[in-house]
């Protein structure tokens, strides 16, 4: 279903062609990073820290080096020390520990050998002497007065200080007079919320194949959301110029933010260099859980004040994000993500807190889900207490164009109201709540970003076109690029081949993150296609012998009065005579990314004897701006929703006392399985983004923001118990029900 405001008429945009890369993916031909092998290739394996925090006293690799089949061994000593202020410093240390291990599973050494088994055996034969240091795992421990340092090289960002700290950022945002608002409020609800650390859970483990040459250059094939960032980060970690590295993106088996950074590539480069052979590293699932990803755990205290007619007059929140062993800005982003309601009075205090846990990574609207879980829960409780329909309460307070986000900037044109109305008017919301079940709704917001993109369009000699970008395709973006090119050129989408090129074959392009690819890279594609259209008009004018001004471009054809119109194949066929190959390139730093709001609705029932929650029905409405390929927009909404449902119900990092991960497998890190879920209905709301030629906002991330509160709000209505801690797993739910 699509709710569209003044729909423009498009020929290709909004259609649902089969994605171009789909055929290879359903026949097993698609090449993911682990599917590539090079002649003479070695396999790499890691030794990882058995301590959450320890000084490395010594590393003895001699036994490993002497083992059969072992070709190279690397440790922290094989990488240059970067200055603490270097933006890649933390990545460098995370890739391979130097004198200190900072979390259980931190890479300490790596081996390349003829076989995976030989490499693993040799890694296990490396002898490391550790001197354990105090390890901190929770926000409370790390923020406690006099707490030992998690990481001696962390300095709080945006603050001038020479003292290392356990805080990555400290943020205060304030407007209005919060204390007075609370003093005058009719209703005040205050709750403390906690969320567990969760993993992105992409099904494909990190993998790369690296070859290094005698010319001192390295070629990397890898799974990544941004191969240009792989290039720059790897170069920095190695102390190299980027020109020494070529990165070719393989198909990527899921990322969700977790593949926006690097882990294995510089290690593979050094192993390959030292061995003089290609090296392949494929993480095990256990390594993925122990040493990559997770999104932060959090603790949020939220207090909301309202008038009795449901006007939300103030929000006062304290937020802390457990970001693992390295600096980061999760707390700042979390505070900035507070943007859904007008809240004339607002006070946010937010912290990014370091602990001896794996370095946290982005995960789909990073930091926003934690804040939304708290605020959407408290707002819902206000609606309950005032006996106001939860959508009506939100409609009354929803931010519109010109209202301020927490960071003080006015919203551009946004579609929050439209999303609320879409759910309010949906068949789902209008239908009675099933007996024994309860219904919940919640909303979510994410900014989306612009950043740099490049695109090249080649018109082939037969009139087909190739669209080349530098944006790894994690969810169907190639199909979107082809559709935007088809629309702009007036060319059948099946006559367009969209490609993702390596770092040497296309202009610089930022990572696929921040829901930016269809927006920003799409903008580059449209710009390149427009230039190509201008060039085709010029060539047609030459062929026709008329002035350029006399030629118009109409539905894929050059049209001039008194002349036979020329289609793209005819123009392509004339290319050599009219000036040579037809090609166009565009590069840009996109501004004007359009925020995307979402509103979710679910019906669920709770087994009050066992604490099980069963989601019976789920509907997600989200503002796409314009849905270029509606199937893949729906897919983003559905995928985000289900990741959120997993986050809400069962996913969590369970740490042992020593900081090791107790559930480093898909058996016990419980992402939703097909039988856990109902169909996920979607409503694509289209409030076009005025800053994009086709109105695109980007939809990749917001979908994960509302589900936790959506479910908690429904559970509250089902049981009378307000759950404030994630996951709402059966034991946790039953414990709270017992306390009733």
């Amino acid at each position: 279903m699509t709710a569209t405001e003044n729909p423009p008429t498009y020929k290709w945009i909004g259609t649902r062609p089969i994605r171009h890369d789909g055929y290879d993916k359903v026949t097993g031909k698609a090449r993911f990073a682990a599917d590539l092998d090079l002649p003479g290739q070695l396999r790499g394996a890691y030794l990882r820290s058995p301590h959450a925090h320890a000084r490395i006293v010594s590393i003895d690799t001699s036994a490993a080096e002497a083992m059969p089949g072992v070709k190279s061994v690397v440790t922290g000593a094989d990488f240059p020390e970067l200055a603490a202020k270097n933006p890649e410093h933390d990545v460098s240390v995370n890739v391979m520990a130097r004198d200190t291990v900072l979390y259980h599973g931190h890479a300490v050494a790596a081996v390349a050998a003829n076989t995976q088994e030989a490499a693993a055996a040799a890694a296990a034969a490396i002898v490391v002497e550790y001197e354990p240091l105090p390890a901190l795992f929770t926000i409370d421990e790390a923020m406690a007065e006099g707490a030992p340092l998690v990481n001696e090289t962390n300095f709080t960002k945006f603050v001038k200080s020479d003292e290392p700290s356990n805080l990555g950022t400290v943020t205060n945002l304030e407007r209005g007079d919060v204390d007075e608002a609370f003093a005058n409020a009719d209703v005040v609800i205050e709750r403390e919320f906690t969320t567990a650390s969760v993993h992105q859970g992409y099904i494909e483990p990190h993998a790369c194949v690296v070859d290094t040459g005698a010319d001192g250059k390295a070629s990397i094939w890898c799974s990544s959301q941004g191969h240009f960032r792989v290039r720059s980060s790897t170069a920095e970690v190695l102390g190299w110029d980027v020109s020494r590295i070529k990165v070719t993106p393989a198909e990527i088996g899921g990322g969700f933010g977790g593949k926006t950074t690097i882990y294995i590539e510089p290690v593979a480069v050094r192993l390959s260099e030292k061995a003089g052979r290609p090296v392949k590293i494929v993480m095990s699932r256990e390594e993925v859980f122990r040493a990559t990803g997770p999104a932060p755990a959090s603790k949020v205290r939220a207090r909301v004040a309202a008038n009795k007619d449901g006007e939300l007059i103030a929000l006062d929140a304290w937020m802390a994000y457990n970001i693992g062993a390295f600096g980061g800005i999760a707390g700042l982003i979390g505070a900035m993500s507070v943007a859904s309601y007008k809240f004339p009075n607002l006070r946010l205090e937010a912290y990014s807190v370091l602990t001896n846990r794996p370095k946290s990574a982005a995960y789909r609207s990073p930091s926003a889900p934690h804040a939304a879980f708290a605020i959407e829960s408290v707002v819902d409780e206000i609606a309950q207490q005032l006996d106001i329909d939860p959508i009506e309460l939100r409609l009354k307070n929803a931010a519109v164009e010109g209202d301020l986000t927490a960071m003080g900037m006015p919203h551009p044109r946004i579609g929050f109201i439209e999303c609320l109305e879409a759910i309010r008017d949906s068949e789902h919301y209008r239908s009675p709540v099933p007996e024994g079940a309860a219904r919940g709704i919640a909303s979510g917001f994410w900014f989306n970003i612009g950043e740099q993109s490049s695109a090249t369009v080649h018109l082939n000699e037969d009139g087909t076109a190739t669209v080349i970008t530098g944006s790894p395709d994690i969810g169907g973006s190639r199909a979107s690029m082809a559709l935007m090119a088809a629309e702009t050129l007036g060319l059948d989408v099946t006559r367009i081949t969209p490609l993702v090129a390596d770092t040497e074959s296309v202009g610089f392009t930022d990572t696929t993150e921040g829901s930016r690819t269809t927006f920003a890279t799409g903008m580059a594609v449209v710009q390149a296609c427009r230039e190509l259209v201008d060039e085709m008009r010029a060539r047609a004018a030459t062929s026709m012998g008329v002035d350029l001004d006399a030629v118009e471009w109409v539905d894929g054809e050059a049209v001039a009065e008194g002349q036979d119109s020329m289609g793209i194949p005819a123009i392509a066929a004339q290319a050599k005579r009219t000036g040579g190959p037809l090609t166009a390139t565009a590069s840009l730093n996109a501004s004007g990314a359009g925020p995307s709001f979402a509103v979710h609705c679910c019906d669920l029932e709770v087994d009050e004897e066992t604490g099980h929650t069963k989601v019976l029905r789920y509907t997600a409405a989200q503002d796409a701006g314009t849905a270029i390929h509606p199937s893949y927009v729906e897919g983003q909404l559905q995928g985000g929703s289900v990741q959120g449902i997993g986050w809400a119900l069962n996913e969590e990092y369970i740490l042992n006392d020593d900081g090791s991960l107790d559930n480093a497998s898909f058996l016990d890190y419980r992402i939703p399985v097909a039988s856990d879920l109902p169909m996920i209905d979607t409503i694509i709301v289209e409030v076009p983004n005025p800053s994009h030629p086709y109105g695109v906002r980007g939809v990749g991330e917001t979908g994960i923001v509302p589900p936790m509160a959506t479910l908690a709000n429904a559970i509250s209505r089902a049981t009378g118990v307000r759950l404030t801690s994630l996951p709402m797993s059966p034991p946790n739910v039953l414990r709270r029900l017992n306390e009733r």
């Binding site: 095990s284 004897e609 066992t610 604490g611 119900l649 069962n650 369970i654 107790d662 559930n663 898909f666 058996l667 016990d668 419980r670 939703p672 399985v673 039988s675 856990d676 797993s729 059966p730 034991p731 039953l734 414990r735 017992n738």
Partner: protein, 292 residues
């Protein structure tokens, strides 16, 4: 490490006797992850699935003989077996995904000796016996005597289970198995409860109640059995007092641990819940089976 696929019990026995550190397997669904996780590798991995007797299912003279390596998918797909042992069939069908079901077996589920094995409480409730290959012949033992602790069995070195035997349930007898898992599939039981009971008219004349995943080995809930025996169904339902007594007894019988799959408190509480639910299902089945 060497792989061997004997085709007879004798051949398998010889491999085990001749190769210290060897190990039998059927589905390998636990063995391969254990090897991956760094547990010691067996000298010889003896694949039992090529021995016909170990993958055969026979029903003869009121006795079921089920090869120890028979895939559980074969059992759940067997309508005659499932009609007689619906609870045991559903317990067998809960061992992992469809993929796992084509590999998992009673023999493996039993001898892996996890306290959470789904089929074991149901097998014991059904009075199953195992035929064990010893170093010079065979011996028979009740299933409940095999597991002695987590990862521990009473099987001597070189012994392996050949087959399971079950006698047809008496008239008016049926069973049920329920488990608690966080999701709907793909999890290890947090608690499992098997109940088998017999009816004469509306009166329960025999009952067997066993719990999994709440102690180092499965646990019999004798008090629940005692509460059931002699009670009468009211409109086909076990009365509330009996259910409450059972639930309380089941909770009390638990000796669980806190782990990543559940807390002590949770396991105790839900053990009672699923025990009474399983009993209700078993009673309904016994009644409807008996009335047919």
């Amino acid at each position: 490490m060497r792989y061997a696929a004997p085709t007879s019990v004798d051949e398998a026995r010889s491999l085990l006797v001749d190769n210290p550190g060897s190990r039998v397997f059927a589905g390998a669904t636990d063995l391969i992850p254990q090897i991956r996780a760094g547990l010691p590798q067996p000298s010889v991995m003896v694949d039992l699935k090529r021995i016909e007797r170990l993958t055969s299912v026979a029903h003869d003279g009121g006795v079921w003989t089920v090869g120890a390596a028979t895939p559980t998918a074969d059992l759940t797909a067997n309508p005659e077996f499932t009609a007689m042992f619906p609870g045991l069939s559903e317990a067998s069908g809960l061992i992992g995904s469809d993929q796992i079901q084509n590999r998992s077996s009673w023999g493996g589920n039993l001898c892996n000796a996890s306290p959470a094995a789904d089929s074991v409480p149901a097998l014991v409730a059904a009075g199953a016996q195992v035929v064990i290959a010893t170093d010079n012949g065979t011996r028979t033992a009740p299933v409940r005597e095999i597991v002695t602790g987590p990862g521990q069995t009473s099987l001597a070195d070189g012994e392996f289970v050949i087959e399971f035997t079950l006698t047809d349930p008496p008239a008016g007898t049926s069973d049920a198995y329920l488990r608690i898992i966080p999701r709907t599939e793909m999890d290890i039981a947090v608690v499992g409860a098997a109940v088998r009971l017999s009816l004469e008219g509306d009166t329960i004349t025999a009952a067997s109640v066993w719990l999994g995943a709440v102690a180092p080995t499965i646990v019999q809930v004798a008090e629940a059995e005692a509460a059931l025996v002699g009670s009468t169904l009211d409109n086909g339902l076990i009365n509330e007092d009996t259910l409450a007594t059972m639930a309380e007894a089941a909770s009390a019988a638990c000796n669980p641990i806190n782990d990543k799959r559940g807390t002590i408190e949770y396991r105790r509480q839900v053990a009672g819940v699923i025990t009474k639910r399983a009993a209700a299902i078993a009673a309904d089945r016994a009644l409807n089976g008996a009335s047919r």
